[in-house]
């Protein structure tokens, strides 16, 4: 097995593309190392992206935030400006594993690992995040919900590397939230996750919203019907009920050691309601 530490995204992409065997990007390694140890993957090449400067920082731009693919979840938690603007996104990253895991892991890794239960992904989908992808030949920008195609599979082509994840510029009176359900308080995998991002008008009526769910289908889901249920409302009881119904209707979960179909479906609605209420409070507070 070879191990490389390129200094540009392009180099990383080229290395991976020209490797005839199995090549993997290594970010925090908190998924990849576990899979290697369990012999689920046996890479021929590891490309460590932590030495690529374009991936190392969080930048506040006129267009929003740009989070480098090698930025750890812990660094996100320490960025007060990011935290203030996107509290839900930061909370989702700071729910991953434990302090030790967060010191290593990245949200790009969380996304590219493509687990249906990845915590950061529903929050990023709700936030309308975009992914900057660098290939050996060209760059492209993709909506975050277009990346994961199924459990463990992505739309990234061989040699394509995520360089950064961007969050759009935030209008005033906006808020987001992410909540997950785990039987244990920490060190657990989401049985259900729900992310909501919304913006209010001057009368505190929801002007726009995005709702996303995790762990209730083969991929994290954007649920437009759930957003529609609350847009134009002040999140009254009827709106909340419709939100929950739309979420439950979107669920297509599995029965496994982590949760039953009935449980995941029911709790998806509950968490979406709670996340919506939190996001709404945050939007009002601004």
């Amino acid at each position: 097995m070879k191990y490389q530490t390129p200094s540009t995204s392009k180099e990383a992409a080229v290395l991976i593309q020209s490797e005839p065997g199995q090549a993997f990007v290594l970010a925090g390694g908190t998924d990849l190392m576990v899979r290697m140890k369990g012999r689920f993957v046996e890479p021929d090449l590891l490309v460590d992206i932590k030495h690529i400067s374009a991936m190392q920082s969080i930048k506040k731009l006129a267009t929003g935030f740009r989070i480098g693919a090698a930025v750890s979840a812990a660094e996100m938690g320490e960025n007060t400006s990011l935290k203030k603007t996107w509290p839900g996104v930061v909370e989702s990253a700071n729910l991953i594993g434990s302090d030790q895991i967060q010191n290593r892991c990245t949200i790009a890794g969380n996304l590219c690992n493509a687990s249906p239960a990845a915590d950061a992904v529903p929050a990023l989908i709700a936030a309308g995040a975009k992914v900057n992808v660098v290939g050996a030949q060209r760059r492209r920008t993709v909506a975050v919900e277009r990346i994961i195609t199924g459990p463990g599979t992505t739309s990234l082509r061989k040699g394509e590397v995520v360089e950064a994840i961007t969050l759009p510029k935030r209008p005033p009176k906006s808020g987001d939230a992410y909540l997950r359900f785990t039987p244990r308080s920490e060190m657990d995998i989401a049985v259900v996750g729900a992310g909501v991002s919304l913006t209010l008008d001057s009368k505190m009526v929801i002007k726009s919203a995005r709702v996303a769910l995790g762990a209730v289908a083969p991929t994290p889901l954007l649920v437009p019907a759930a957003a529609q249920a609350i847009v134009g409302t002040k999140l009254n009881k009827a709106a909340l009920n419709l939100l929950a119904q739309a979420c439950c209707a979107a669920c297509n979960p599995i029965d496994d050691k982590r949760g039953t179909i009935e449980f995941r479906t029911e709790v998806a609605g509950v968490l979406a309601q709670r996340a919506a209420k939190m996001a709404y409070q945050r939007a009002r507070g601004k």
Partner: protein
Amino acid sequence: MNDYVIPEKLRVVGTTPIRPDGHDKVTGRAKFGDDFHLPGMLHGKVLRSPHAHARIKSIDTSHAETFPGVHAVVTAADFPKISSNVIDAGEAGQIDMQDVADNCIAREKVFYDGHAVAAVAADNAHIAEEAANLIQVDYELLDPVMDVRSAMADNATVLHDNFLPGAFLAPTEKALPNASKLELAMGDVSAGFDEADIIIEREFTTETVHQGYIETHIVTAQWGANGMVTVWTTTQGQFAIRDQLALVLELPMSAITVIPLEIGGGFGGKDSIYIDPLAVVLSKQSGRPVKMVMSRAETLRATGPSSGTYIKARLGVKIDGTLVAAEFHGAYEAGAYSGGPVAPGVSTALTRYNIPNVKIEGYDVLVNKPKVKPYRAPGATPSNFAVETMIDELCRELKLDPVEFRLHNALKTGDRLVLGFPCPEIGGVEILKAVQNHAHYQSDIGGPHRGRGLAYGFWFGAGLPSSADLMVNSDGTVQLCSGSPDMSGTRITLAMQAAEALGIEPNDIFPSVGDTASVGYSFQTVASRTTFATGIAVYQAAQDILAQMAERAALIWQIATDNILIDGGRFVNKTNVQQCFTFKELAGKLVGTGGPIAARALASPEGVGFQITAHLVDLAVDTETGKVDILRYTAFQDAGKAVHPDFVEGQIQGGTVQGIGWALNEEYFYDGAGHLKNTSLLDYRMPTILDVPNIEAVILERPNPGHPYGVRGVGEVPIVPPAAAIANALYDAVGIRMNTLPMTPAKILDKLNSITD
């Protein structure tokens, strides 16, 4: 049985000195299993069955043998084929050594997912693992039997054509193709139920759980040039490992030395052999020392969990709250080989109440899961869960206070037990009164969906053989060596008892754990016995030391030994009280007066005393998700005498946390084909520090007359009542009666939905 006169005032016992092994443990210097290395050591790995139940048709090891870096490959064919031989393994019950051998390495059939089939020793663990995967095993698949009720059903697939029923405490008899049975009875149950005004009958199920020790099984073995075997391992009992190895490998016990390393948790699960004989034979074949380290997944798949159960119970009570009759049926998983914890499980089900008419039936049931092992009060948690939730139901039905009800029916000293003997000294009434008087019980619970639950719990513990050596150094310090591995601070609790007896300070005593070649035979550190039983051995050895030292003082003063008064570490000439030696002074004179002094005691005390406890818990339920949040927890327990109160508190807190895990989340999750699906601590959900509140331990001290300082076992009973206490609190909070463990959020939500629908 000895009845000791317990001193009114104790000088050392009851204080909280710092344990001598503590610093090295917290700074990483202590040597646990994986810290041990030998020059030239090879690494062994096991090939395990991917099937829950299959016949082994053939094993081809040729590819593994020729793989570069491999030094030895073994299968069952490399081990002696031993005949049936049932031994008494204490808390692990009557075990057939043929089963133990077969469990270490499968011979004709594999009986569970993870059953060892072959092992490889190689230059490093990676090569060993790679090579193990090259071994080809041809299996003929058989239907797996995954729970007690299907194992007991007509036409169930049979695991073993023959098996010797085993259990501890009470014998069982083969009753079904996959099960053996025991019965206990007292009084006349049908007459008892006739007398009852209210009768309830309920069914319960509980899932298989693991002890969850953080250190996995790790062993290093060396087959010496002279045929002598040395084994370094992390175990609850070096002698148990030695004896089992000798029987399985057909070696004389004297040819094997087992050296216990520090142990990172056991809770009953590290009392017997698994990879040990594999490492020994791999070392024999390769001529090199071999180390084997089990992964977490291997530990969960292939080492002793505790039984899943099916329970059906019936209780009869009079309108005034008097329990008059009880019937208890418990079917406990034995795992792949017979001999689970059914007897202590069912016989402690009711023992804490004085019920005149009782009928108990227990089944030890073979299923395609790893052979179960003792786990802290083996078998008692499921039976307690059943009975205590039923008692709670009766209290509500009769509108009786749960403490008053239990006080009214409490088992008292001298009451007849279903096991046929009168109840020894027991402090149940005191425990229940302590609950009533505690601020927690009197506090307001506040808030919606909050509830409070009480459960009352019982466990026996055991005495069993222990040894201790004491040797006096010329500076007055003392070496203490026992055969009991230190899992919970027993080095210091034993040193404290020696210090108390000898009249010196605990830090003048250096306590150590001896290997099988250097200390007298001792049973494992199990059954809440070490501070009690090894403590008695220490006490006896100390009496011997004092007598020998008195003789020396008499010799020096030229008086009769009778004239020496031993008083608080001083030796006084009764005929001339000016003449007096301190322990240290006299220690300095031993060499000149006939040589150094040492003493050994081998004790097998019986009066371990009963363990009795009550747990009180407050919790909140998230009624939309079924999540339980434990708000406050108080555990009341009779310690007899808490030798080191901090460690008693630690035992109470640790056992309670394990009980909380069992109650809420922990379970073996098998798929339909019998594959264990949650083989990591991510998915085998033991509580984390955020899942439990501070657990307040209220220690009562009602001295046990069976110990010179009044000590009782304390380690096991804390795991008994948590599940029931939490279930009762759930009812109080949201009106649901749970009859299954674990009480996961999904099950709670389901029950909530069923009552609101």
